[in-house]
Symmetry: C2
Subunit: 276 residues, 2 copies
Amino acid sequence: MKTVSENRCFGGTQGVYSHSSAATNCEMTFGLFLPEEAQHFTVPVLWYLSGLTCTHENAMTKAGAQAWAAEHGIAVVFPDTSPRGDGVADDDAYDLGKGAGFYVNATQTPWASHFRMWDYIADDLPALLGEHFALDMDRQAITGHSMGGHGALTLAMSLPERFTSVSAFAPIAHPTASDWGRKQLGAYLGSDETTWAKHDATLLMREVGFDGPVLIDQGASDQFLELLKPEALSEAMAAKRQDGVFRMQKGYDHSYFFVSSFMEDHMNFHAEYLFA
Amino acid sequence: MKTVSENRCFGGTQGVYSHSSAATNCEMTFGLFLPEEAQHFTVPVLWYLSGLTCTHENAMTKAGAQAWAAEHGIAVVFPDTSPRGDGVADDDAYDLGKGAGFYVNATQTPWASHFRMWDYIADDLPALLGEHFALDMDRQAITGHSMGGHGALTLAMSLPERFTSVSAFAPIAHPTASDWGRKQLGAYLGSDETTWAKHDATLLMREVGFDGPVLIDQGASDQFLELLKPEALSEAMAAKRQDGVFRMQKGYDHSYFFVSSFMEDHMNFHAEYLFA
């Protein structure tokens, strides 16, 4: 593991690190905010999964998470959204290939050799974090924005007891029924749609739900509402009697101005369960 | 004036607007955060002047000001750092020309026709803001980072009674004695150094001081300490018996991670006097 940069931030450290990943078979970069408490003992960790076109950096600099993470003494990890590098397949579209890993393990050419972001987030990066940093990997929570909200919800529901709590900002809620989903799941997983179901938060919610509390924020003026399909997830949560809250936020759009506006609420939400 | 974008943010609106400026003789773009209160009555305004290479956008997305501005009901204006456009002179160096206006009125070719950022911030933009937005222009405060800290301090000391309070993050504190200053003041104002003095916060502090409270934060691990020369300003503040606080922050560098870490303190500081 290499240290790319470390900046003092809210009494702790905002670091950027790179490492060779067995899951994605390439060099990966991630951000990690460690609160001051991590100098003295292990701290719980919140995963923040980012959306289409983002790297590890966008949320790290624009979501305003560190202020509230420092207040609670929680670490925040900001992974990249896809494999990177010259040898990694890509597509001209912004929503396929680099920056658009969709948190799945691709099975199709040309994606299968590197696009294994599910394994990267579920296994590879947690092992590295637990080994190198003062993190209590028995206390993890997860959140994300847009494609990252999709990733957070699908990982949380598929890995029982891994995360104490899950939240999402404007998640891609029903990708098997959306152009943000059908294109990518088809490219990465192939045309057999039965392999897509475990990567759809609404279908997973209907089927299994989450073994903890859920918080969803969605902007009512989001320019991508037709692609995100929040109503499908909201309906599924209610029908499943899922312990959780779905909030439609009047006037907010899809930007980081929306995310940062509600970051304190999400951090407070996760802190309640991480420190329970 | 044209609306470039408006995003709902912390209950208010983060807007970006452009307008034709008589001062800089070109189209200028600025960011303006209006808290929710501005829908009902006029609110006080904090100016945030940015540093070298920045546009209106950097601090608007990375400094974390909106959270605390919303809490207090204060507007924040984020001006650009130089004139822009095809017809505007530039230099290959990052620290001269576009993105490096240095908050002066240039008198030398090729800069004099557009590089009049002093007049833009002191006269042109305030007039526009007062006309178009629910701002109480009798209650203004000013802050800035690096070159913007230099701008905030020099404007505040040169315009008595304009600002209730001034603060700065890692300001260029003594530009007439630094490579961050001598190069730019020479290029924009010419070789007669007597014209430089009113653009040096340390010299102004020695001479006139500020007619209100001052707050300065400086990272002790700032990579540009030799260029910023904080000790000169700190000495001048103490010698002038200036009402103010100079804080050396252990471990912090020159980045927005430093700025955002102390933004709450600066907003609380200005709020105390804006609402006195």
